[in-house]
Structure formats: C-alpha cells, structure tokens
C-alpha cells in the first residue's frame, strides 16, 4: 500500500516502499527454470477475446437483409431506368421492407434501444458502425420516399429520383457491413478483412437477383438472371480466397454449425446460379425456384459467417495460434 497523490503536475508522494524479494539467496539460485518448462496453451480454455454480444437473429439477419436491400435498390434503379416497371416496383418494395426489418433488428439488438439516436451524436470514420448508421440515415428515407411514390403515384419524378439515389447507395449498404464485422478482433472475421467485402457484395447481389427472379415476370427478368450469375460467381470466388487467407482459422468455417450452413449455402448458390442461367429465361417456376435458392443461399452464407466468427472468438486457440505464428516468424 502506498500514500500517493496524482496531481495535474504529476505524481506526488511515496513510491512503493520496499523492494520485493526474489529468493535469490534462499537456495543460491540453484534452480534455473527453462522457458520451455511450461506448456503453452490457454487459461482453462477460456476465450481470450470476449465473443460478440450480438444476437444471431438480429445481426446475422441484418447482414442478410441489409445486403438484400442494397442489391434490390440497385436492381430497382436499373429496372426503372431501362423501362422494366414491374421489376422496378417489386424490387423497390423489397428494398424498403428489408431495410425496415434491418433497422428494427439493429435497434432491437442495442442494450438500450431507447438510446438509438445517440448513434447520431458523432460521425467517426474509424467506426464502420458509425459510417453505416449515417449511410442508412440517408438510404432508408430515400427508399421509403421511392416506395411511397411508387405506391401512391404522387410526385413520380421525385420518387423516381429517390429510387435511383437509393440504388446508387445500394452498393455502400451492401459492402460496409464487411468492414463492420472485420474491424474486430474476431479471428475468422478480421483475418478475412481483404476478401470479406467481395464476399458480401457477391452474396448481396445474388440475394437481390434472387428476389428479382422470384418476383419479376419472364419478360423483365433478364438483368436479374445476369446479376444472379455474376453475384454467385463473385460470392464463390471470394469465399475461396477468404478460406485460403484464414490459415488454421478456416476450421471455424468448415466445422460445426458454420460448416453446415456454408456447405448448404454453396450448394444452393451453385444450383440457383445454374437454374438462373439455364432455365429461368423460359420457365416462371424455374426462375422462382432459382431465385428462392439464391435468397436462401445468401442468408445461409451470412448466418454461416456469423457462426464461424462466434466459434473463432470462443476458442482461445484461434486467437493464440495465429499470433504465436506471427511472433515466431518475426523472431526468425
């Protein structure tokens, strides 16, 4: 115990009053332990980082719904500009519904939902969540305005402009969430921070295109078919690259709940893309089935990535081993 005081000029008063013993004289320093005496490992298997406190339904659900919204806005804007009114209308409404559900999930996940507006106190580029909130702050009202105008026929020009504005923000809505989860100490998310944005826009595009295939008549679904192929291809390639990047942490994407979800997601993505490419031009049923498969695949991908992150956060080895390898590499 000490009697110290800290002042604006610094610390005043006594320092610790005595030197601690080292037992150096007790036994002539007989025993010289080697650093290898003790096994490397963990503290009773406890996690090193604290796992996210986010609810899976809310946050993994948001990753999916936010991506769907962003891609649907983009699809709607394109359809609007190229004279595909039914696709435009349905995709617009999908985006508005999805972003509404997203906001509800995000607010519900707060420890203090009533303090949601505290998010608007500051703008912090160092916080992807802050950046995302401000993107949504612009994006969501544009969607609502576009959809309201679409439904009521009031101020159609302004409504259309709002829809195109939402479409242009769509890619930002679909991609920033990758930075959101990667900007953490969660090994499966952070280690994949270079590939995650591409995985997320691919997954978002295939979800948006999936909805387009599900909802649009055959005469208007051509862009959705192409977008489905591009999105699915992007998603699958990005996922491969991400898995390669993760090193031993990739186990968390291949095992357990995450492994099952991601495996099914991949199969559904391939099936949906094949259906979209080969059958959706002629058959309304095939288009709807392909679209449904792509939507389900995108959701499973997001829930799979979420579960992989949780698994990698809970087991200390995914935090320790990559860091240990990094240290060993640096020390030669």
């Amino acid at each position: 115990m000490s009697d110290e005081a800290v002042t604006r000029e610094g610390q005043e008063g006594a320092r610790p009053g005595r030197e601690a013993r080292t037992w150096s004289g007790v036994n002539g320093g007989r025993r010289r332990p080697e650093p290898t005496d003790h096994t490397r490992g963990s503290y009773y298997g406890n996690s090193i980082i604290n796992p996210p406190v986010w609810e899976e339904r809310d946050i993994a659900g948001y990753l999916f719904a936010g991506g769907l919204a962003g891609a649907s806005s983009l699809l709607a804007a394109g359809a609007d500009l190229t004279g595909r009114p039914r696709l435009a209308r349905r995709a617009k409404l999908c985006a508005t519904t999805a972003i509404g559900a997203s906001l509800a999930a995000l607010i519900n996940d707060l420890g203090r939902p009533a303090r949601f507006l505290n998010m608007l106190r500051v703008f912090k580029p160092t916080s992807p969540m802050s950046v995302g909130v401000w993107i949504l702050f612009v994006y969501a009202p544009l969607n609502v305005a576009g959809s309201a105008s679409e439904l009521t026929g009031i101020v159609p020009r302004l409504g259309r402009a709002a829809g195109v504005g939402a479409g242009l923000l769509g890619p930002a809505v679909s991609s920033y969430t990758a930075a959101l989860i990667a900007d953490t100490a969660v090994p499966a998310w952070h280690e994949g921070h270079r590939e995650m944005p591409f995985l997320f826009v691919g997954s978002a595009a295939s979800a948006g295109a999936g909805f387009g295939l599900l909802a649009a008549p055959l005469a208007e679904n051509a862009p959705a078919r192409r977008m489905a192929l591009l999105g699915a291809a992007g998603e699958l390639v990005a996922e491969q690259l991400l898995e390669r990047r993760l090193g031993m942490v990739v186990e968390t994407m291949r095992e357990g709940t995450a492994g099952r979800r991601l495996k099914v997601a991949k199969a559904l993505t391939v099936a949906g893309a094949l259906g979209a490419g080969a059958l959706a031009r002629r058959s309304r049923v095939a288009a709807a089935l392909s679209g449904g498969a792509l939507l389900a695949a995108s959701a499973l991908t997001r829930f799979g990535i979420f579960a992989a992150g949780m698994a990698s956060a809970r087991d200390p080895k995914y935090t320790v081993e990559p860091q240990r390898a990094r240290l060993d590499q640096h020390s030669g």
């Binding site: 080292t22 796992p51 990758a178 100490a185 992150g309």
Partner: protein
Amino acid sequence: MTMGDGPLNIMLRGGDPATEAGYADAPPRMGFFTDTSVCIGCKACEVACKEWNGVPEDGLDWTGWSHDNSQGLGADTWRHVAFIEQRAPVGGHVTNFQRGTADQVGGQDGFRWLMSSDVCKHCTDAACLDVCPTGAIFRTEFGTVVVQADICNGCGYCVPACPYGVLDKREDDGRIFKCTLCYDRLEVGQEPACAKACPTDSIQFGELEELRARAGHRVEQLHEAGVIEARLYGHDPEDGVGGDGAFFLLLDEPEVYGLPPDPVVTTRDLPTMWKRVGVAAGVMLAATAASFVGAAR
C-alpha cells in the same frame, strides 16, 4: 465531427495519447505496472474495485481446478486475479514438494502458483475507442480510456473489438462497462482503488514513463536472481496497440494467463478495409450495370 484518435496515434506512435486526443495541457500519462512475481492472489484488488466502483456481483463460478471464482474480465469484473498451478518452481524457491513430502502432487520438479491481477490495458491505440459509434468511449486527460455510462447505448461493438477481452455487456443493464482506472479518484488526486488496496505492491500505479523504468529494473533484478522466465508484457510502445497504459511482468507466456501473445489494434487494418469496401462497391455497381446493358427485352 468527432474523430477517434486511433489512426493519428498510429502515425505518431510513441506520442502522448491525451495530447493527441486534443488536451492542450494534459498531465503525465498514468497507468499500472502489475508485477505478478509478487502477487499473492489475495483478491483485495478485485474487492476494492467492486466496492469503490459499485460493480455488481456476477456469479461465483470456479474456473477449472483453480482458486479463481471470477473467471475473466467483463462488465462486472474490472480486476481479475488469475490462478495458475504449474509443476515448476519459481526461481530458486524451495517448496515442500521438492523436499519429497508430496511427490504425488508436485514431483521432483517442484510446484508453483502463478497469480496475476488482470485489468483493462488502456491501450495507446484503443480499438474500443476507435469503433465506438456514439462517442461514449473517450480518452481522458490522463491518457486512459473510459466508457461514459450516460451515453453508451449498448451497441456492443467495442466488445469483440478489444483484443484483450476486457469490455462486456452487463446483461440486466444493457450497457457496456469496464475499468475506468478510477477516473473519479485520479481527478481528485487519489490513486486507483486496486493499487491502494494491493498489500504487496504487485499493482503499482503511477506515471507510465516512470513505471516502465521501474519495470525494466525489476526484470533485470529477477533475471539476476535466476528467474529467467520473467518478462514484460504490454510495455513496448512499438507493439500492435502502441503500448499498454497498464502493463505486466509475467512469469510465463501471456496465453497461460489468458492474454493474447501479440495483440494488434483491429483499426490498424481499417484503411485497407475501407479501400476494399470501396472497390467491392464499385465492382457491384459495374456488374449490375453490365447486367442491364444489352440484356434481352
């Protein structure tokens, strides 16, 4: 516009975080040096912290085979004493196990307890502060990192952002809590409650610069005495978090104590992430445009 001070700190590594955060006339940076070689595991720090800060009880579950009933740092544990049993002696210390009275337990290799009082590291480059979207987490004039309970809305982003697993959500409250390095006590010239209560000066509070010098001296002293496994942790301003405001002297690898061996502030990679996000968004826009151009009617 309020900016986190992380990237700035990274650019000006080694600088004073309070000055970089905008304090014109900041007092010296204050911190903890926790010398675990003299920790006796009395948990007075845990108790003093709970009492002074009004931190609620959060269960008394024993960890593994140890004397640890507080498990790890969290919303309601701001000081956590780790207990580790090992079949190895500490330095030249002779125990009864080595005298052959309890071979079946310790064997000839000896037996030692490692005890360490863990706490928020008050990083120079603090990920929690960087990612906090409400500005609830801020840098004090003492260079410490504090969560403002009247602003925090419990978004939980700081929880997985922290590379040490310090912050957590208080479930029945919804907000995030952690060590404040007794900001209220510092402001009135008092040292933090845990340091005040520590009976062996294992927890030393003071100006960070002086503590670093003291710690360097202590490691030399231990090495001379044959405790060659003594090493400092979190003292280096060149490490992945720009150095900790609360650093440690450990007698084994960090992970044995539940500490990450090479923590890096996640926002160090954020510029790369934003770049990649931008490119990905551009690709999505271009791919969608391509899906419309020349698409069949």
